[in-house]
Symmetry: C2
Subunit: 376 residues, 2 copies
């Protein structure tokens, strides 16, 4: 039996994120582990757990049926295998789940390894606000426009906004599911998932037909983090699943980013906590994310600057004199000198400069500010 | 001539934040520096600058008139002197201004040193949003309630919201002005300033009568930072004066904090930049500020948590079994065992536990979830 068939079998036998099984496969190979289970050998207690699922198992047929549905199983032997997910085998479990996937069932035209070479996870609350959804979509669109794949979970709220933002730019996007890639969950996203499968990639470690469960969502989150170089959390209330993705991103040494929002908005609470206490970097736009994911020094985001002001070019003394020139009633050099608290010679030199630069006007030996130079 | 009179004289002669003058006074004492200037000795170029202001100077009368108006000059010799402002003499200038104040003209019943012993600056945009003003006011109220003085600049927007928040709790608040403490700037804040002078403190390094200038605002900002243990920037557009206060806070090793807002809101841009690139800590509420300003380990802010869920007390296997119990059509142990992917004995034990805990119900050998346990 080939490793691929054995991995197909094991992926149906086990629950995703079973660290015992991942360790066994890493040690013995998938074929040997599957044979042991088939022979009712209870290595590490796995047989006892999966015994009832061994009946009726037919991995060859699973693979054939998947193939007919346009679904492939990406295995470590394949060129398409996204090597970074193996980082999951080098880090401990979270909430009892962990380890690399046994294989990744995939549907869609992109090559998984290529789609993940430059990829950002954009995740967040299902109960997103319009603010959060709009920011997620803008960030995803920017990333897609710059060739960065947007990885998310196809859930309501932030996830769907992220996928849609990428799709709007005809950019690469990867939906990682907690159920079989042939299933639409949530069902309201049937069209969205079909579109992603047509143009991007829909991926799961669960074989076709499997239903989502809470446990599978938690296990799925580790894949979202592992398949990307960084995770952007857009909105996440205090117990959002997006925070488990964030935990995985930190644990995997991926870049963890958070988009702030109003402190009065519950869906932003989790993100603020990530920035405040968990080392997430605050990002406000796609350019910030791109900068953080790119090699140091490339893709530097512009610093946000206010509008230039006419007096920006003045030196400290010239500003001090400009401050001392009255607005309404023009004044002579003595009065301005006293107001400025500077030497008379300096004041006269500055006034001349300020006049040339258009900041002040001079008439009959008296000076006043030019009206255009006055701001509220 | 006493040091106090000399300091009164120098504070009227010079512009605030004149580092040459601060260095001279630190070296020679205020009396000696004033005598040199009066004798037209041009030490460090100061005489040339202030010559026109020497005429008509009468510091004794200044002090008498101030006293009649309820205004005192707080000097380093006084018990009331806020020693931490001397940190300004140990750090370099910013934008050409710096150094400790020559003295602090003060009006109000609080003792300046005591008011500043536990103090937070709460500053931000004059063009604040209602969101920003409301958060500033809430944070200030919380601080005031916990005995922390709120230091700000009495400007429109965030500053006034901060003062009002503190006053609403009858808490200590200190307004640091860029003009004489007898002047109301902005004039719309005449009542606010009068109220602060009645219950808190209005402070300035400029003598009574002086008008505000741009330069004086910049110099004033260093005092706001120096008089408090930390600065909270609530909203600050890219060129807000609050960012100069933030710069000073960093330079003085004070705690720098920023309140995030929507990334789509211009008045939050400056704050996001402070958090992202300038080491400001994200804070969302008064408790966060109090924690950061308090000795390590005291005043720990509660971590924001979501609501507890009934399944929080379950272990991983029990959750996995609960996930596998159907909602509508009750199922037998075999079916649930297969769905859970766990050993039959574990499943039976878990089902019993789940039944006792009220998560599942059992009838005629079949199990299903209890409806109350189902969340959307």
């Amino acid at each position: 039996m080939s490793e691929r068939v054995a991995r197909a079998a094991l992926s149906r036998l086990s629950e995703p994120g079973d660290v015992r099984l991942a360790a066994l496969v890493a040690q013995l190979g998938a074929t040997r582990v599957y044979e042991l289970l088939r022979d009712e050998q209870d290595v590490a207690g796995v047989y006892t757990d999966v015994a009832t699922r061994l009946r009726g198992l037919d991995p060859e047929r699973d693979l054939e049926e998947a193939d007919r549905a346009g679904i492939r199983l990406v295995c470590p032997e394949d060129a398409e295998w996204p090597v970074p997910v193996e980082d999951l085998g080098r880090t401990g479990p979270l909430a009892g789940r962990g380890g690399p996937p046994l294989g990744l069932w995939a549907k869609g035209p992109l090559r998984l390894d290529e789609a993940c070479r430059a990829a950002a996870a954009v995740v967040g609350s299902r109960s997103a606000t319009t603010y959060g959804a709009s920011v997620a979509s803008d960030i995803a669109a920017y990333l897609a426009e710059h060739g960065v794949s947007v990885v998310s979970g196809a859930a309501f709220g932030i996830d769907q906004a992220a996928h849609r933002g990428a799709l709007a730019e005809k950019g690469p996007t990867v939906a990682v599911l907690a159920c079989g890639v042939d299933r639409a969950y949530p069902s309201a996203h049937r069209n969205l998932l079909a579109y992603i499968a047509d143009t991007g990639l829909v991926v799961s470690e669960l074989p076709p037909g499997c239903a989502p469960t809470k446990l599978r969502f938690l296990s799925r989150n580790r894949l979202i983090a592992a398949l990307s170089q960084g995770t952007v959390v857009v909105e996440a209330a205090a117990r959002s699943g997006a925070l488990s993705t964030a935990n995985w991103a930190s644990r995997l040494n991926r870049v963890l980013m958070g988009v702030p929002g109003p402190v009065t908005s519950a869906p932003s609470e989790g993100v603020h906590e990530l920035i405040r206490n968990r080392g997430a970097t605050l990002v406000t736009r796609g350019a910030d994310v791109l900068e953080l994911l790119s090699p140091s020094g490339s893709h530097l985001a512009d610093v946000v600057r206010g509008p230039a002001r006419p007096e920006d070019d003045l030196d400290d003394r010239q500003r001090q004199v400009l401050d001392a020139v009255p607005l309404l009633h023009a004044a002579g050099p003595d009065s301005i000198t006293r107001a400025a608290g500077l030497a008379r010679a300096d004041v006269l030199a500055a006034l001349t400069h300020l006049q040339v630069a258009g900041h002040v006007e001079h008439r009959d030996g008296l000076w006043r500010k030019r009206v255009e130079d006055v701001r509220p």
